[in-house]
Amino acid sequence: MSALPTSVRFAFAALTTLIAAPAFAASGEMAVNPLAALAYLAAGVLFILALRGLSSPESSRAGNRFGMIGMAIAVVTTLLTHEIASIWEILIAIAIGGSIGFVIARRIAMTDMPQLVAGFHSLVGMAAVLVAAAAYVNPGAFGITDAAGILLPVSRVEMGLGAAIGAITFSGSVIAFLKLNGNMSGAPILLPARHVLNLGTLAAILGLIGYFYFVPSPVTDTPWLFWTITGLAFAIGFLLIIPIGGADMPVVVSMLNSYSGWAAAAMGFTLGNTAMIITGALVGSSGAILSYIMCRAMNRSFISVIAGGFGTASGSGEKGEKIDRPWKAGSAEDAAFLMKQAETIIIIPGYGMAVAQAQHVLREMGDLLKEEGVSVKYAIHPVAGRMPGHMNVLLAEANVPYDEVFELEDINSEFSQADVAFIIGANDVVNPAAKTDQSSPIYGMPVFDVDKAKTVFFIKRSMGGVGYAGVDNEVFYNDNTMMLLSDAKKMVEEINKNLG
């Protein structure tokens, strides 16, 4: 770990002293303390810079530091501007959570990132529920009561929304975590009349939040109300995610990312805290954009993903005919020989590569080929992994330089000049049916034009299995395709032996 740039450290020190000096004088009056407000604003701006840094790998590390500094400012400002009954309890809580988080972050395998992110989302959701509940039982501490000590109506709507979105994020993310982690089958679970049930529950939540606004004194008149809203929201989060199949999980994870942001924003309204509002808006937009990108990459509408049930019955009608079609088998020697002769090779990795843990041997193959003077490029489809950008991380972990890795639209025109397209663990993203067969469930999805390459090597476990969408792939039977039937890792190891 390199040290922080001195200028950043200096700025941080200056800022914290600036806040610390007047804070003790005006304790307990967070909302009117202009320096505290300024500090929260600074934290919000630093969070914007954290995301801005991700526009390129060079600036990304500095961006992450900005995020950390922003968080430190937000936490320190809050502690300095409030009278604290017991600082030790708070510090212990931070230490417990912090060390758990740190250990998890160190140990997690990169293939398990989607589960980790889903798990983290559930924690943000639960934290939002807890904060909303705390504000409900002790509104005085948050400065959201009128002169008579009754919860302000606007704050009720904000905390109701915060608790509801937080609860949906929590239970939805728990289901997403269990599905991604394999504790629960990825197959959609379809309840009868689920659309009516879901829409009814959502309507009930919104109706109750409206009622919450108009009750004269919610704590004494309708003590059940807040908890009912929260309980229903926990249920709806669960109901919304169980019918969604494993293939759509990238969209779900992005969507829950978005929800966790909106939950934070809602609580930011309750507290009148700019850092929370800016962050909530950033995270909310981020998740929404990622969901959109994922849907576009699968040519599916957001509504159809949310409605669920994808991957249950598609393509099963024609299973009989494909078995008999002729296809060419290749061996590791053939592949090694042809690739040595090639000038350009484009590798298309899919999630199957990650399952087989073949990314390291694949990078070795790339290195061996580069030594032979072959140009090697990697082509990544937006839905190649189990979450947005997942495949890029897996290749980066295997030491593949990021300037050899290309996105779909940047590389698709190059297949016609490529000597070899090397497909490893991918299937649906190279299926030409997406361009030609209107009846196919993947029709309209943008795919790689691998069939335009001179030779196609297709590593696959067996001819029987089909991709997530459950459709057959024309590429298997093309004259210029050689099927390399084996475990991905073993096959690449064999090829490497023949290259060496």
Partner: protein
């Protein structure tokens, strides 16, 4: 702060978020999710306020809710930033030859 000022900040931040996120390179979408996860845990501010208070009616319950909230948010803050750092350190340019 009055509701309209807060709403203005929120709406502007949504636009900033929209443009900033579209400028993120797709190769870094996983770190983007990890870091948004970490920063959305700024909700810890609310948990700290709840945990710091005490004494009044409901204060004790709120304090414990706040403390649990701090633990959960801290897992996310430390975990989120650390895992992002770990991932970003892996992205390297071609250096051989």
């Amino acid at each position: 702060m009055d509701f309209i000022s807060i709403l203005s900040i929120f709406v502007m931040a949504c636009f900033v978020g929209y443009y900033v996120v579209w400028s993120v390179t797709p190769a870094l979408h996983t770190p983007l999710m990890a870091v948004t996860n970490a920063i959305s845990s700024v909700i810890i501010v609310g948990a700290l306020i709840a945990a710091a208070a005490g004494g009044v009616v409901g204060g004790e319950t709120a304090k414990w809710l706040g403390l649990i909230g701090i633990v959960l948010a801290s897992v996310n803050i430390f975990g989120g930033f650390a895992v992002t750092e770990r991932m970003l350190a892996m992205y390297k340019k071609k250096e051989r030859k």
